[in-house]
Subunit: 205 residues, 2 copies
């Protein structure tokens, strides 16, 4: 059985770190921003632009064509087309073999692939703490500003999810495991999650 | 740090089995129906009667006094009083030491005890399969009857939860880990959950 793990995550909850660490421990290919890069390559649109659409479910105001613009024939590419491209990229990735995919609605797009779906979340205090810890020196925000940013990004992710699915983003019923990372140091729980994943894929159906 | 694990669970999802097996592996005291027996002992009301109130959040129609009725002085014990007794029993249990408590709203009642809270759930198909597997020869129900029973019991648990808390029963934000047992053989995932619990209690706060 192919092992494909999707990780959906609230912004600030450490979902990406979980994905990266699990891919190391389980020796699985890891996809996150790589998906954006691939779509950018295929379409000639800038990664920033793709990123804006990729998990937001809204059509961004500013167009942001990438450097490969000249080689890109169709200027009319709209949000739906980008999302279709994203879904194709996700399927190509899944067809390649075992992997961990973070975000991009992979749980929905790959629902026929027998993926194991994880949702990572945490309380606001932990989210703010994590964002502050990861922030570069030149992008320090106050707690209030951070909270506003976190709420907005998670609202966007929810919207994006509703665009591609009838299932509610973050509804536990759509996931095989939901992990609350409040007050937790991610690396400490990785071995247990890794073992859970191994066992989940060995399960009898 | 005291290790108290609470397990809330949808009926039919294998939550009790998870609790029992974890208590063996982790060498923790286990409480489930023991709580009912203790309240029954304290009040003189029958275990059936307590059980009816314990997780339903409704006042049952039929009174069902137990054998120790004669030694019980107060006939006016109402639902609220039973629930208060239940909460006292839960606190007594938690004060005793490390343990796993299944159901009875322990996650809410013991919120000041730094408990680790787990929610166990599954899809209806798995619930029906599990119930059928566990059913005694003389209580075989059809799939339809089972589904009706499962939905009703889970409705009752939700109602009970709403009675003692403003938090929504099954809302992932109230739990540290939510485990979907659909298509899973419980005993296979126990070592991974046990390790997760061990690591969770070792976490830095």
């Amino acid at each position: 059985m192919k092992k494909i793990v999707t990780i959906s995550r609230e912004f600030g909850s450490g979902g990406r770190e979980i994905g990266k660490r699990l891919s190391d421990v389980l020796n699985l290919a890891y996809y996150d921003e790589e998906i954006i890069a691939e779509i950018s390559k295929e379409t000639g649109l800038s990664e920033d632009y793709i990123n804006n659409i990729s998990e937001k479910g809204i059509y961004p105001v500013a167009f942001n064509f990438g450097r490969t613009f000249a080689s890109f024939g169709n200027l009319q590419l709209n949000q739906t087309e980008i999302l279709v491209k994203q879904q194709n990229v996700l399927k190509k990735i899944a067809d390649k073999g075992d992997c961990i995919i973070v975000g991009r609605g992979a749980d929905i797009t790959l629902k026929d692939y027998n993926t194991m779906n994880i949702f990572v979340y945490s309380d606001m205090e932990s989210k703010i703490k994590r964002c502050k810890y990861k922030a570069k020196e030149d992008e320090k925000l106050t707690d209030k500003e951070l909270e506003k940013k976190i709420i907005q990004i998670n609202k966007d992710r929810k919207k994006f999810h509703n665009l591609i699915s009838n299932l509610e983003w973050g509804d536990r019923n759509n996931y095989n495991l939901c992990i609350n990372t409040s007050e937790i140091e991610i690396k400490e729980i990785i071995p247990a999650i890794a073992e859970y994943i191994e066992r989940w894929f060995r399960r009898k159906i």
